[in-house]
Symmetry: C2
Subunit: 151 residues, 2 copies
């Protein structure tokens, strides 16, 4: 891999984070912060339902997370229910209001993508999606990311 290749990849990375940067805007026009939105997403869609799972998935400090959850619970977006099997743990789940909020976030994220692709023809859009697939299929997962913070 030569330095020209690397240069091109870094250029793409700058482009991507500056121009697309999708995830960082999920929460736009809601009262939620980015992390709170990601929390709702994880709990509501990916079935992470205890704090420790969220700590691992989102790499947050557990103290910080505990407070975030308290806040979201106070806002009526989620609830903690005692886990019957493990009395240390609490099962997290969205309330109806939480599901509404998540649906809103998803709608906004979708709209954002639609706006980004609005000037493209169907063909161009398909080409971009195919290109994304190529990248996903090929690039290796960074091992440092897979096993983080091991003592």
């Amino acid at each position: 891999m030569n330095s020209q290749d690397i240069h091109q990849i870094r250029a793409f990375d700058r482009f991507y984070t500056q121009t697309l940067h999708l995830t960082d805007k999920y929460h736009l026009q809601t009262t939620l912060t980015l992390v709170e939105a990601r929390l709702l997403l994880e709990i509501g869609e990916n079935g992470r339902n205890t704090a420790i799972q969220l700590v691992q998935e989102l790499r947050l400090d557990k103290g910080y997370l505990s407070r975030l959850i308290t806040r979201l619970e106070a806002n009526g977006l989620l609830q903690r229910t005692p886990d019957e099997r493990d009395k240390r743990a609490k099962v997290l789940s969205l309330t109806a209001a939480g599901r509404d909020q998540l649906a809103l976030i998803n709608r906004r994220a979708d709209d954002q993508i639609r706006r980004l692709f609005v000037d493209l023809t169907t063909e161009e859009t398909q080409r971009v999606i195919a290109a994304m697939q190529v990248i996903e299929d090929h690039v290796a997962v960074d091992p440092q990311l897979k096993t983080p913070n091991q003592p």
Copy 2:
């Protein structure tokens, strides 16, 4: 653009930010924070910089930026020299130590990319780079990003 397309694009976005996430790690194994590293990059590589330009480029609060610059100057990584034409402004430039630090950051970023692609054949790598090019060429720049914070 149908919802299946959108789903795929959002999946790519998650993949990208979770797996690649290059820029967020420029500063690894240095004493710099991410923002400081980005500052060095801007000043060192994009030439002729004043604080106001950085404020626009990196979208930072000018008070915050002022303090960041003070800190980097205190660490001997950059210097402020009075601008002859505009006596309000100060021209920012890297010191020798700043250039060294920047070179180190660049080396780390390059290494990171090399690690990410280490298992790919030359052909696969070229395919990924081509795919990146396709995305860059097609996706529109988000207008909200181009004219930020206008009063």
